[in-house]
Amino acid sequence: MRSFLFLLKFSYRNLWRAPKRTMIMVLSLSLAAGFIIWDLNFANSGSKEVMKEFLSQYAGRYQLTHPDYYEVANSKLFDNYKVMTDEQVTDKSLFATSTRRVTAPVFLSGEKKTLGVLMTGIEVDSELRLARLKDTVTKGEFLSPAGNKEIILGKRLAERLDVKIGGEVAVIGQALDGSVANDLYQVRGFLDFGGGDLEDTLAFTQITSARELLVMGPGQYHQLVQFDMSHETLPKIEGLRAWSWKELIPEISVSIGFVDNFTWIVSVIIVLVISLGLANTLIITFFEREKEFDALNVLGAKASWVAWSLLLEVTMLGIVSMILGCLVGHAATTFCSYYPVNLELFTNGKAIIMGGMTIKPLVKFYPVAQYYWQVPLMMFFFLALSMIYPLIRVMKRRKNAV
């Protein structure tokens, strides 16, 4: 124990021999650790915020449907004949944060064109309460809860069909009893998705109107869309299937995953570069003390003792740097939780379009606990790697010297 304490003291004093140099090493290590923690928190919060912004507009966190409603291999394909009812949903608590939807692939016919769209029958009250679809209505009004056969449609779709607010469009489709479904709907508002694809392909009406068009039973619907964003888990309900947003919009999930992976790669690169530089500095520092090592050797210190002292020196340097790095990273993260970062910084001020919708995410940072041990661990790993070569050189010289 005493010899260890001596070793500790010896290494500690060595650190203070060239304080400026030590400070620069600590600074570069701690800034790197701080930056990586900040960057990972940024990537994580960014992904979550973007998805929250995107999912809360319309898509929801997950959907409960008949197990065969969506095709497993391609969730863009669905079977409209597969319906569900409230009785099948055993966990009644889900209804508080969910909304029922009926989907109808139909043709909308205006003055000049007939275009295919996905018309969705929605429960207006709960959509107003849970989703942010209403915010995208920039012209006209959202559907009225008590109304009937009203329709809101994408701005671009309305331009293509040449329809005006208050005008009518003919809806033509196929009812679930096999008959031709057609009716006239009054245009109430236009959705603005900033030029995204969904402006061309989406329309909404009251759920009762959609049921009437498709000749469905009063309690039947296709999707129960969940808007509770606070959980990650999916419910297991017999006779139904929960589809997470990742399954329903895999293109968005993949894009988000790519940015997350890229952030980790950048982090590893930064640590690698820092480690190389550190190895270089350590080599110079160790060889500066060559004569001193020789003297220690003559006084009876073994080569391993010298190696241990150097290891301890670097460990102390690492620990101090990591503590500082975590503090710096956390401080920067906390700052950005009060002053969110606008992702439009990365797009020259252009709005981000995802899955056919415009989103304007202000990323409010949330610290993720695991990064505060993962990053120091990763840095220590590379620090240990960067020590190998200098130590080998020191040990070799020791052998030659004695």
Binding site: R21, I24, M25, L27, S28, L31, A32, P105, V106, F107, S109, E111, K112, K113, T114, L115, G116, E159, R160, D162, G173, Q174, G194, G195, G196, D197, P250, E251, I252, V254, S255, G257, F258, V259, N261, F262, V266, I269, I270, V273, I274, L276, G277, L278, N280, T281, I283, I284, E288, L343, L345, F346, T347, K350, A351, I352, I353, M354, G355, G356
Partner: protein, 412 residues
């Protein structure tokens, strides 16, 4: 440029570098590696952005589109313009060889298998073949020809859903120029496999004669168009094309105007690269600053001695400058060799990211997201490489020399 004194100092600088080969190697290697990684990321994103651009352009969008005004606003096809010889000449004058005048009619099909929306394109087959490789992607049957009056070519995805084969007839519903709902029978001449599933499901091709008969209810006897998509090398000639084709009946749009979602993806990627460059630059600077400073501080006694012997500060700066030049040369050479080797291989083999897509064919904004990215290696990356190294090395050496000479000043 190099007189005897400079040659001597140059040699002196080279020997100084060689004196601590290991350390010089480490400094050079750190810089080379960092620069290699930074430029590789640039090449990777250049490749990915290029692939995105190519995929969007190949959805019959082209790099640019000359659109008739009302079509540009609302995709109203009822005001087609004649494709005249003067316009063909204008395309040639601009060096544009791949273009396709098209009439665009929105249509739909209904069958027991379901409903589908179609974009019916009335093309000039010869021009279209030159513009896009759809005709080369015919998997069964034939592509339409100019004289065809009732044929249609559809995508493989649409054919699979509705179980169509060449020779089958399909009923196409649409509204004609008068707005009247019409249903017409067309014969499937061929099935193509091209671009993405959503493209194959949506785009169908007919001849100009057919579309005139269907939409205008008469054969006008001339080539009409709502839009003319055309190819170019990239979007750099945007302003030139816009002014060349400027008139009150048409407008030029780029693929970025037509597919804003993927345009923003590219902007976002560019933003990420800039951010990455700044971070790597700062990291490498902080990393090599100390070793370089230590190398110069180590030489302090000998610099002092040289100073006493009459060597002026200007010469120390010269030695530093020659050291920087040589270090830049060696680091730049190492990075360039690494880059050329790795990128030459990877631009052929690609970098596989399919694990990220869980084996699914994923499409976004009408294009298939690529699982294998082919980094693009271009000469300007070598300029970026050297520029980056020059900046990092010069800054670090200047700082180290300045600090050492200041110390020398104090001892005088």
């Amino acid at each position: 440029m190099l007189n005897d004194e400079n040659i001597y100092l140059f040699k002196f600088a080279f020997r100084s570098i060689l004196r601590n080969r290991g350390r010089s190697f480490f400094i050079g290697f750190s810089v080379s590696l960092a620069v290699f990684i930074a430029v590789w990321v640039l090449a990777f994103f250049d490749g990915m952005n290029g692939q995105i651009e190519k995929a969007v352009v190949n959805t019959n969008t082209g790099f640019y589109q000359l659109q008739e005004n009302s079509y540009a606003r609302t995709t109203d096809a009822s005001h087609p313009l004649p494709f005249q010889e003067s316009l063909r000449q204008k395309f040639q004058d601009q060096g544009i060889e791949q273009f396709s005048p098209e009439m665009v009619v929105d249509a739909n099909i209904s069958a027991p298998e379901g409903n589908a929306s179609l974009v019916l394109l009335g093309i000039v087959p010869e021009l279209h073949k030159n513009f896009l490789g759809v005709s080369a992607g015919i998997t069964s049957g034939n592509f339409i020809d100019e004289t065809d009056q009732e044929g249609i070519v559809i995508g493989q995805e649409l054919a699979a859903i509705f179980r169509y084969r060449p020779g089958d007839q399909m009923v196409v519903n649409y509204q004609d120029i008068k707005g009247e709902l019409r249903s017409e029978i067309l014969t499937i001449r061929g099935i193509y496999h091209f671009s993405s599933n959503s493209f194959e499901k949506r785009f169908a091709y007919t001849s100009q004669k057919t579309i005139h008969r269907l939409y205008l209810n008469e054969d006008s006897g001339q080539i009409l168009y709502n839009r003319i998509p055309f190819m170019a090398r990239d979007l750099s000639r945007q302003e030139k094309f816009k002014s060349a084709f400027r008139n009150d009946k048409e407008v030029v749009k780029t693929w970025k105007d037509l597919n804003p979602e993927m345009s923003v993806v590219i902007e976002f990627n560019d933003g990420m690269i800039k951010f990455f460059f700044i971070i790597i630059g700062m990291t490498i600077m902080m990393t090599i600053l100390t070793p370089i400073q230590m190398l110069w501080q180590e030489r302090f006694p000998e610099l002092r001695m040289m100073n006493i012997l009459g060597v002026v500060k200007k010469r120390f700066w010269k030695i530093g400058l020659f050291e920087v030049i040589q270090m830049i040369f060696f680091s730049g050479l190492a990075s360039s060799i690494l880059l050329v080797t790795i990128l030459s291989i990877q631009s052929k083999t690609g970098v596989d990211f399919r694990y990220n897509q869980q084996g699914l064919n994923i499409e976004r904004a009408g294009i298939r997201l690529t699982g294998v990215v082919y980094p693009i290696f271009s000469p300007n990356q070598i300029f970026v490489t050297f520029g980056f190294i020059v900046f990092v090395m010069c800054f670090s050496y200047m700082w180290a020399i300045h600090r050492t000479l200041k110390k020398l000043e104090k001892t005088e």
